[in-house]
Symmetry: C3
Subunit: 189 residues, 3 copies
């Protein structure tokens, strides 16, 4: 019986090894789709139009040959490149206390419809959050929700990855827009 | 004998724990180098030169002081920044049915030779693929093959990472080029 | 007793399964915070000012309406966009043998203080290193150390991720700066 038992143990052990190996080999395939952290923010962009220098948080810095630097270009702003430093708030009120800055760039990249591409960071240095979250991706503005990638982070957000869902919360002509950003982090360290 | 058995079980269990711990600790070291998904696409770029507004899919939106916005600059186009919205096809025929758009920017960044840097997305919304793949990296154009990073994805390509190998498939003067993109995804969720 | 033993084995096996499942589920939560690789480099940026064309390694290619392409703009250079191809050295001497190139772009993105955002690659093709490391993130220049993300890599740095700590090692007016870059890779393949 002793050998029967050790056989059982051996088999059990062998099975466990196989399971472990399969975990190692497929470690890049089996993943939890539940976020390890979720965050919701708003940010507010006031585009410089030649007259609002005091309030503007962004400016056109590149444009196609048919555009200029104080007015968004024709053809759905194709090629207009904007640099921004926008306040981040916890609610949709631009006068709320900013808890960080959204800093980066976006450009419009389709002639037939409004579409943009973004590369930016959320930079935090408050009691709530210290560190940064880095984003990149396509933003088909006319869709109600658009997903971009969280490509990394630092500080409190060390090495994080995830998805940010953008929603246009408000637009006022060509000067102001507000985005709601639902951040779902799937890699937390 | 009962205690001998439980000893064996205890040892077996202890060994398993050690194996598990070593998996957790080295989870960022042991990785499969086989792609979990491979995809091959082509995309087609027609640069605006002041005359081809109807067909152009890209435009110069930034240039060094010695350049302008309708002609690529001297010194191997150093500093020319281009925004694009290019059709993606499954073969190398620009007239094939586009299955998505390559949207983003590139710039030339070396005075002595053609070299560029790219940040862009493949945006899909067809029966084959829904979602986006985000790319960034250096593209030393004169090399036959160049590797850039897949830094994230959304939708069908949720959270993906990998490598994209770029190959110039065709160039026609300064107006048209076609890239073959071999995407190898090593992190699939 | 036999049934008692197989019970023990069954329980042991069941526990092991639970442990394994928890590993799979939390594989994106338990991570080693020790780098799998560290690297220290310097890179040297000489900005084109209209007169130093021979030595310049970077140039302004985008600027806000109040700026131009041969002089950094007012308001802490907000909106100035620079493309660069900078030599990488192992020490802080610009005359040391370059072991690679830092290629990419940065822009200034705050009106009240010097702050920038970077997207670039370290491109290596030497006996020491072959391949590239891709970076993105916010660089609050006035801080002594700033962390950005390593978002991917190719060749020797296949699929890598990590953090790069930037330190300004020298500044000479608006023409020259040198950055020390401490790269800590936490995902090595």
């Amino acid at each position: 019986m002793s050998s029967k038992i050790s056989n059982s143990i051996a088999i059990s052990f062998f099975l466990v090894l196989i399971i472990n190996l399969s975990i190692v080999e497929s470690s890049n395939k089996i993943r939890a789709h539940r976020p390890c952290k979720t965050l919701i923010f708003y940010f507010h962009d006031i585009l410089y139009n030649g007259e609002n220098g005091k309030n503007a948080t962004s400016a056109i810095v590149g444009a196609p040959s048919w555009g200029n630097l104080t007015k968004l270009a024709g053809q759905n702003h194709f090629g207009d490149l904007i640099v921004f430093d926008d306040p981040i708030t916890l609610d949709n009120n631009i006068h709320s206390n900013p808890i960080g800055r959204a800093q980066g760039f976006y450009f419009y990249d389709k002639k037939e419809i409004f579409t943009s591409w973004l590369g930016f960071s959320f930079v935090f240095n408050s009691t709530q959050h210290k560190g940064s979250i880095n984003f990149a991706g396509a933003d088909p503005i006319m869709n109600k929700t658009r997903d971009i990638s969280v490509i990394g982070g630092t500080g409190d957000f060390f090495m994080t990855r995830g998805i940010a869902t953008l929603m246009t919360d408000s637009v006022e002509g060509e000067v102001y827009f507000r985005l709601q950003v639902d951040i779902k982090l799937y890699e937390c360290w």
